[in-house]
Symmetry: C2
Subunit: 158 residues, 2 copies
């Protein structure tokens, strides 16, 4: 067992699970803020040089776990670890967002696909040398960019 | 507060922090296994179609937090959220690895940059449509691919 504590909160215009974009790519123009607890502000030093960051956060409105889920972009049940569904063990979410500005304890980000009030667990820089994947295959995920961009959440993961 | 529980354990040839590759790119040929607890095996369905997965894991041998650290690829202190150092609040690590095979509760992966026995918290598919970053800047991180590949860990994060 490992206890985790939020380092801050994510502010976004998304007030409810329904109608939320399902991934940052569907929220490309959506701006939000990371409000970092004062005790951690020193850890933000040097972050401004990065264009993108990973956010780790808690799927705080989803507490049940299901091992098979029907993803938004599909019509068949898939193993939860082959999806980005919140119904996973440990309920930790991962998004890559664009970094816009840092002022004190407030980090402005773009491409926000999480609910307002989401507990923030970590910020990590996206480093192309570490994280760049040149050629990948994406199994069941066959949707077009356009479909991902336009798809909105519904109540299935409440 | 949010309690998290491992879904399994990561097996790797790296027995100690010293001399470990610092990122998957420095461990490109290193094979390891995710040994997933039996109760979660059903969640692995459909994962085999993906070439790459994100692993979330616990930096279990590092329990202290420092807000400024000197990263392996640098010689100046940087804010911990601008680094991938384990000395971060919540001590959660993130790596992208290549998926090789799944047999029962055992997932063979390539590009393992974590210690043997690391508690596994989550597996997420890498989906180029969600996660691909086309142009990014990486702040202080100026090392060449060759330097990242050859760099090895030391005792600083013990």
């Amino acid at each position: 067992m490992h206890e985790i504590h939020p380092i801050g909160v994510i502010r976004s215009p998304h007030q409810s699970i329904e109608s939320m974009p399902i991934q940052p790519k569907g929220a490309a123009e959506v701006t939000g803020q990371l409000v970092v607890e004062e005790q951690y502000v020193e850890g933000l030093k040097d972050l401004e040089g990065f264009s993108h960051v990973y956010l780790l956060y808690s799927f705080h409105q989803t507490r049940r776990t299901e091992l098979q889920v029907i993803p938004f972009m599909d019509d068949q049940p898939r193993g939860v670890f082959a999806t980005r569904s919140p119904l996973r063990p440990n309920h930790i979410g991962l998004s890559i967002v664009r970094l816009q500005a840092i002022e004190g304890n407030c980090v402005t980000i773009q491409g926000v696909d999480v609910l307002d009030g989401t507990p923030l667990l970590d910020i990590k820089p996206y480093i192309a040398k570490f994280d760049g994947v040149e050629a990948s295959t994406s199994g069941w995920m066959q949707a077009s960019d356009e479909e991902v961009k336009n798809k909105r959440s519904d109540e299935r993961f409440k």
